[in-house]
């Protein structure tokens, strides 16, 4: 496996740098278009959640990328933050119409639906949140 890892400033404006980092990695390893779209979306949703909700955290969030012949692995690490497990977010009522639907929760819903595995770890001593994602590559 050939991984890559980089730290990004904790701000929404970092997204353009993050997308460039993802594009470089995806091009180098010739990922298919659907996987590229998926990893852009998953990283954006997880990163923006960290920026918006993990107030008081470190100045940067670390993004790690790796892959093998069949899967891509993403990892986001946020230090000095409170625990928040995205798997505990209430399901979105996707069958509801516009009258009864409420905004919110869509990002986590999209992530949970589009990946094969979403794992959350929290190290109390370091106040460190780590979210790991596994996504099968298209054949």
């Amino acid at each position: 496996m050939a991984g890559a890892r980089r730290e990004f400033p904790r701000k929404i404006e970092s997204l353009s740098e993050i997308f460039a980092f993802l594009e470089e990695f995806a091009d180098e390893h010739e990922f298919d278009a659907r996987t590229v779209f998926c990893i852009n979306l998953v990283v954006e949703e997880l990163f923006t959640n960290m920026v918006r909700h993990n107030l008081g955290g470190a100045d940067t969030v670390t993004l790690g990328l790796d892959h093998d012949d069949e899967q891509v692995f993403l990892e986001l690490i946020d230090i000095d933050v409170e625990p928040f497990d995205p798997s505990t977010v209430e399901p979105v009522p996707v069958d509801a119409g516009v009258d009864s639907r409420r905004p919110g929760g869509l990002g986590v819903h999209l992530v949970r639906t589009m990946v094969d595995d979403l794992k959350y770890d929290y190290l109390v001593e370091d106040r460190c949140m780590r979210i790991s994602v596994r996504k099968t590559l298209e054949q």
Partner: protein, 94 residues
């Protein structure tokens, strides 16, 4: 980069990547939509939940006054996102 254009024939076209960093700049353009329209996604390459949220808020505001947005030319990846989000129930998609 993201752009939204109101064409003279009543069609609203979206261009580029509609991600969380574009929401503040796009909000005014969406708030200026007050009547039913067709929104052309032909040049839109990417949308995340941030963009979906602004689209939803706009549709809800319009539907409350008897108007609605119809969507066209979604690429397969965006179409999949709309399906996962349940937006087939929120928008007419052609």
């Amino acid at each position: 980069m993201f752009e939204i254009k109101h064409d003279t024939d009543g069609i609203v076209t979206l261009h580029g990547r509609f991600d969380a960093s574009q929401i503040d700049a796009a909000r005014a353009a969406f708030e200026s939509i007050t009547r039913s329209c067709t929104m052309d996604f032909g040049d839109l390459t990417y949308v995340s939940s941030a963009g979906l949220g602004l689209l939803f808020a706009t549709q809800k505001r319009l539907v409350d006054r008897g108007e609605a947005i119809t969507l066209t030319n979604l690429n397969p990846h965006i179409r999949e996102i709309f399906s996962i989000a349940g937006f087939d129930n929120i928008f007419e998609i052609k």
